[in-house]
Amino acid sequence: MLQKMYDWIDERVDITPLWRDIADHEVPEHVNPAHHFSAFVYCFGGLTFFVTVIQILSGMFLTMYYVPDIENAWKSVYYLQTEVAHGQIVRGMHHWGASVVIVMLFLHTLRVFFQGAYKKPRELNWMVGVLLFFCMLGLGFTGYLLPWDNKAYFATQVGLDIAGQVPFIGDWIKTLLAGDVSIVGAQTLTRFFAIHVFFLPGALFALMAVHFLLIRKQGISGPL
């Protein structure tokens, strides 16, 4: 039955090469922890991806209860945290996932760096990876404001003041991010929400696609 459905689709869409491209390749010995225990350092990239998936899913579910509005944002998070079954766990996954993903990214970056895996021909993939790191930091910064509690508000104010000290374009950057030259308020929250939920994840998906495509094209770097 399943086989017939697969054949029916495959005849029309020719999907076999697509999944074979992803699934059908050999993994060399030097990245396999079953042969060399030290190869577990190659897990950090995969774990980063896994936490990213957790972040995307938990974020999607959190928006069912969250409102990006200064009157209600905190109340909705408080309601989610105290009244909704498992709301605390899902928010916890998103909160701790944000920290864990930074740790995993950091370890993955260090692994690639100290193995010199960014050398020719993989320069582009390293740069895409560093941009992914920046994206993640941006997501962390914008996500920090969203619960609209005291620590979020004041940390964001500091962050925006730092941006405002950039010469020539500082005020411009600050206004663009905060929606107002001096007020950190209603417009700041909606802008940070938009950046956190649409713009940065969009960039993140595009960069991840390139990152993975390049890995499949170039193969994993050889043993030292």
Binding site: E26, P28, F40, K75
Partner: protein
């Protein structure tokens, strides 16, 4: 590759009608034992992922995500602190060489060099050797960078009393009490007090909450009749028996809240 006339397609599409066998890429240039990605290697990766997930879920259950009180821009005494992975930047700006007249050094030059160097690492470290000891400058710079980030983060966080901070910034305690609305005292309360103190003793614009107060029954009786603060005397209109019921009711609610 087969081209031009004689090609067979599925319908009028560009999907080829002849299925070619899919030959996986040759990885034989790698030394040692290779292994199929699907399913052998992926299973190992997912086992690691499953163990990781269990640990991660334990963390989320053991440590509920923190939420401080609602943002209050007038809270002048609040000491801002960024998320931990920005602490190193935050700490950097405390130093003389990165603040005041040299603030540009702190916010642009140093982070710019560090992150720019990270981004352009493949073009700065161009030698063919991949082993760390073959590229001492690059490795040295990275170690220096990591050490300074770790040290700055530690310096910044060691000055913070995290527990006191979490304690001081808890959201306002909303004590959950079950109010027994069948209590005769509640009926008296409804007749005399709800217009200011609310249906659930929660208080309102003109009167404080009656949950979490520390008065004896006799004191409550006195306040109900004679008023206190902004509360004028003579609000309670009822018999002495009702007054006693009211006072007992409010005391019983407050005992629950303790």
């Amino acid at each position: 590759m087969h081209k031009g006339k004689g090609m067979k397609f599925v319908g009028d599409s560009r999907i080829s009608a002849d299925t070619k066998p899919n030959i996986p890429k040759d990885y034989s240039e790698y030394p040692g034992r290779t292994e199929a990605f699907w399913p052998n290697f992926l299973l190992k990766e997912w086992l690691v992922g499953a163990v990781f997930l269990v640990g991660f879920l334990c963390l989320t259950v053991a440590h509920p995500s923190p939420l401080e009180g609602m943002a209050d821009p007038t809270n002048a005494g609040y000491i801002p602190l960024p998320d931990w992975y920005f602490l190193f930047l935050y700490e950097l700006l405390k130093y003389d060489f990165a603040s005041g007249p040299y603030v540009l050094f702190g916010i642009i030059v140093i982070p710019g060099l560090a992150f720019g160097g990270l981004l352009l690492a493949p073009f700065l470290d161009r030698g063919p050797g991949r082993r760390p000891h073959q590229r001492p400058i690059a490795v040295g710079m990275m170690l220096l960078g990591v050490a300074s980030v770790v040290w700055l983060t530690y310096e910044s966080s060691s000055h913070v009393d995290w527990e006191a901070r979490a304690e001081a910034n808890k959201p306002e305690p909303t004590v959950q009490v079950d109010i027994d609305k069948d209590d005769p005292g509640y009926a008296v309360f409804q007749d005399n007090c709800t217009s200011c103190h609310g249906d659930d003793l929660q208080g309102g614009a003109s009167a404080p909450s009656l949950v979490g107060i520390d008065h004896s029954a006799d004191e409550i009786k006195k306040i109900a009749q004679e008023g206190t603060g902004d509360m004028p005397p003579g609000i309670f209109k009822g018999s002495d028996e009702e007054l006693q019921q009211l006072a007992d009711f409010i005391v019983s609610v407050n005992e629950q809240a303790k």
